[in-house]
């Protein structure tokens, strides 16, 4: 059985096709990222998987349960951290978790024990009895993650877990997510931050306009671009290019630089030095393809990333 299985899933809002015939399956223990720009359909997929929305056609199973037919079984077995805040900020951290535990039918002692565990994990134990409205944005997000884990779900959904957070808090949250991997939990996260997907995910689905345009491990996606780009600045470029060509590299001269595409640049560079004889090399630069390059390749357009402290933050503040 797969943790998540999506077959030909489509969701239409009036005339807008938010999710367009998506099929996907995710194994237990996997950290899976849905990566795409805002409005790509990531949150819609997540809302369908968490039973908040019904699909227009196709079907999805989570933990083996159908998200429409067995919605309440699905809900019992998953944890969700929404993109927008969903804590009761008049209540304390403990109370938020306690009510959550009750809603998921946990016994009294189990609740008390688990509250301490999850608060410990997100380093909020000393704020246990403080009202959530006194928490910073990052602390609230950590508490939401703790709450999502409270009832020991098999699968947890994280919708834009670091949206609008400062880099330091982001790091923290990444660490928690990595800890979940160690515990063998299945995580599905959406993000529009390339480096977040790269850092955390075992597999990434790049999604654009409701369709999955690329799917694979971050490194396989990047490798599919055909390796790295090396740029060499040296005193006799022509001679250098000739030598490299003789050794089977596709070297060319652009703007007085020798440029070559290789697979595994870090292994090729020492070789370049050993065959370059007495040519003086001023500098060697190479660039690994990023997920951004992958996105550009598959969608044919540049990826505009929302600045983490720009609009996103303003939106969060307006919601408060």
């Amino acid at each position: 059985m797969k943790a998540i299985e999506i077959k030909n899933l489509t969701k239409k809002f009036d005339h807008l096709v938010a999710v367009d015939n998506v099929s996907l399956s995710i194994d237990y223990g996997e950290i899976f990222a849905l990566l795409g720009p805002n409005g790509a359909g990531k949150t819609t997929i997540m809302n369908i998987l968490s039973t908040l929305l019904e699909p227009t056609s196709g079907n999805a199973r989570v933990n083996g349960y159908d998200v429409v037919e067995e919605a309440s079984k699905v809900r019992e077995s998953i944890g969700i951290v929404f993109q927008d805040p969903s804590l009761d900020d008049r209540l304390t951290a403990r109370e938020n978790l306690d009510i959550h535990g009750r809603l998921y039918h946990m016994g009294k002692e189990e609740r008390a024990k688990r509250i301490d565990e999850v608060l410990e994990m997100v380093e909020l134990k000393e704020r246990k009895n403080d009202a959530v409205r006194t928490f910073s944005g990052g602390m609230k997000r950590r508490l939401e993650i703790a709450r999502g884990l409270m009832h020991r779900p098999k699968v947890i959904f994280l919708d834009e877990p670091t949206l609008g957070l400062d880099p330091q808090t982001r790091r923290h949250i990444w660490d928690y997510i990595k800890k979940l991997r160690e515990e063998g939990m299945t995580v599905m996260l959406t993000t529009h931050y390339m480096e977040e997907a790269d850092e955390l995910a075992d597999r990434v689905a790049i999604i654009d306009k409701g369709k999955i345009v690329a799917l694979g491990t971050p490194s396989s996606l990047k490798d599919s671009l055909g390796g790295d780009v090396i740029r060499i600045r040296c005193d006799r470029c022509k001679e250098m290019a000739d030598i490299l060509q003789k050794n089977g590299f596709n070297a060319r001269i652009i703007d007085e630089e020798v440029i070559l595409n290789v697979e595994g640049a870090e292994k090729v560079i020492p070789k370049i030095f050993s065959i370059s004889k007495n040519i003086e090399i001023y500098s060697v630069m190479y660039k690994e393809p990023s997920l951004e390059d992958v996105f550009i390749k598959y969608t044919g357009k540049a990826y505009r990333e929302e600045s983490p402290d720009g609009m996103a933050n303003i939106r969060i503040r307006l919601r408060r």
Binding site: K73, R75, D88, L103, Y104
Partner: protein, 248 residues
């Protein structure tokens, strides 16, 4: 099911306790009504009923305050949506009905607490209630009235997408219902057009029932009062429940 309702209700209780200062500020208006209007009119004219005007007015003010509190409490579901907690409840493995019942119990509790504070104030002002025997009837009336108006609030809340419409509802729906309910005056001596409006207002029968139990004065048959109140409540529970279930 019971535990689910209790979880939702518990949250309402905690919130209520945290906002206990608000409980005190919202009884300022009834105090002014009873203290100023009640006392002033008490001496201004000789009331034809069995008791003084202040005692006549008290059940009316009691109903008025509870109607306000219950409606507002129902409408606070808008906040739950605005601040996201509604989502937390909607993805939990519980029935929508449990959320609805928990919210409703929370609103009823708040309205009844408020009612009890007003009764205490009225007692201090020297209002003569019928005695211990009046308690069950008054309590029952309070419960039915507050259930009806919490439901009304829930119904309104599922239509409202923001807090802006809230003032509109209070001004154009709740205020007229209160003014046309006989909460402040006897209905038997009204000009005919006004008397007609008062008689089609379901709240009139709530005020009448409350007055019957509180001070032993009434203008309609108590059976009629309860028939109207119960039908009105059931109608609003169904409407409120329906709107809540179908709200997005």
């Amino acid at each position: 099911m019971i535990e689910d309702v209790y979880a939702i209700y518990l949250r309402e209780l905690i919130r209520l306790w945290r906002q206990k200062v608000r409980l005190i500020t919202t009884i300022m208006m009834p105090i002014l009504w009873l203290g100023v209007i009640g006392s002033a009119f008490n001496n201004a004219f000789n009331f034809s009923g069995s008791s003084d005007f202040l005692s006549f007015l008290t059940p009316g003010i009691l109903v008025m305050t509870m109607v306000f509190t219950a409606t507002i409490s129902g409408i606070t579901t808008v906040f739950d949506r605005e601040f996201g907690f509604l989502k937390e409840m909607l993805v939990a493995p519980i029935k929508r009905e449990s959320i609805l019942m928990g919210k409703m119990l929370g609103g009823v509790t708040q309205a009844i607490l408020q009612g009890m504070i007003i009764i205490a104030i009225a007692l201090l002002m020297g209002v003569k209630f019928s005695g211990i025997s009046s308690i069950p009837g008054m309590f029952l009336t309070m419960v039915i009235v507050s259930i009806a108006f919490v439901s009304l609030g829930l119904m309104v809340a599922s239509r409202l997408t923001s807090m802006e419409g809230f003032q509109m509802v209070m001004m154009f729906m709740i205020q007229p219902m209160i003014f046309l309910s006989g909460a402040f005056y006897p209905t038997s001596t009204l000009p005919s057009w006004l008397g007609y409006l008062v008689r089609i207002n379901p709240l009139t029968y709530g005020v009448d029932a409350m007055r019957y139990f509180a001070i032993g004065y009434n203008e309609f048959n108590i059976a009629l009062d309860f028939a109207v109140l119960i039908i009105f409540s059931i109608f609003l529970i169904i409407m409120g429940g329906y709107s809540f279930r179908h709200s997005k």
